[in-house]
Symmetry: C2
């Protein structure tokens, strides 16, 4: 009945990589995502296919079945609820919670997750601004766009990020850029592709790469 950590991680990777709901994902893409060899991926795809969690044909890539999608979405739900707990209850920072949640998401107990959800007050978004699926797998999207869309003089509030890379989040944290902070664009250097912005009355520079990964909503 229960799946191994490895099986669960493959399902999560496939969900993450399949942009469209039933998009198929290549062996190499999964190998890159999980930092493993293509040969190992092929082995696992066969196993998940036998368990009817994915549909898979040799040389044709894989896609989640309905059941696989359900399992993967519940993993995302668990991951994000634990992240909220770590930040909101334990006072950890958003750059240090991802790896811990990566372990916590594998704890097996539906009842635990339901209680945690209640305890946290049914949060709809995690500390990175990503939506948390409910027990039925449904989640709310929200209007958000990258910081680079704003023009000089305009203002936005940080509601999330596009990556969960620890060093990236730590970088933002060090600059004082966290969820809820208000950012005003001062200038936009088209030539070297950097932004000068104001946060908490402090001015700082952001590279285009970083700015593109910061998600905001208009004020």
């Amino acid at each position: 009945m229960g799946l191994s950590y490895a099986e669960e991680n493959y399902l999560k990777a496939i969900l993450k990589l399949s942009g469209s709901p039933d998009g198929t994902v290549s062996t190499n893409a999964i190998a890159a995502q999980l930092d493993t060899s293509a040969a190992s991926v092929t082995d696992m795809l066969k196993k998940l296919s036998d368990k009817e969690l994915i549909t898979y044909q040799r040389y044709k890539g894989a896609s989640l079945t309905e059941e696989g999608q359900r399992v993967a979405t519940m993993l995302v739900r668990k991951h994000r609820l634990w992240e909220v707990f770590l930040v909101q209850s334990l006072g950890m920072t958003w750059d240090e919670v991802h790896e811990i949640a990566e372990e916590l998401e594998h704890i097996q107990s539906d009842r635990l997750i339901d209680r945690l959800d209640v305890f946290l007050g049914h949060p709809k978004f995690d500390p990175h601004g990503d939506p948390i699926p409910n027990a039925q797998g449904k989640y709310t999207l929200r209007a958000q766009f990258p910081l680079t869309e704003l023009k000089p003089g305009q203002e936005g509030v940080v509601i999330g990020v596009r990556e969960d890379d620890t060093s990236f989040l730590k970088h933002l944290n060090d600059k004082g850029l966290t969820i809820g902070k208000s950012i005003i664009i001062l200038s936009n250097d088209e030539y070297d592709n950097t932004l000068r912005v104001s946060v908490d009355d402090l001015e700082l520079n952001l590279s285009g790469k970083v700015a593109r990964s910061i998600l905001i909503k208009p004020v």
Copy 2:
């Protein structure tokens, strides 16, 4: 550096079985505790010995080294802190938390455990009345004795149990016997070895076996 779940479970089993601090534990005892074969235990004892977490000689049993004892004690700390969280914060009952904590105790992050300890207010005892080691591995014992020591007319308060078997805890729960409840001994049938007691103005019978596993302190 990090240990596998299996290695950690062996260390915990050895700690649990070594009554005296440096008591040695037999291969069969560990096999019974972990519900595995003696051959598997022998394999693992060799590995843990190579890692200098236990001292082990063929046919002579095993005992924890100082480092092994430290690791095992921290696992107990993690297990019991998580149990407090599950009961106190999430409102779960003491009979359902053991198995979940058995998984949670393996999550790797000292910082997480320190924050959890702070969040819970540095609890000294878990929901079953067992002491929680602090970050240095020290813990407080407390005056406690089995319910069977009380004589008719005497009163005691439940502060723990001697087993963590789920069905046993569920049984107590169903009878309304939880931590903090006050029990008065009404009579003691020496012949068939049962007690008649009063809890919350309700009378009930307890077998000698059950009564021996309930730990109380005098009022």
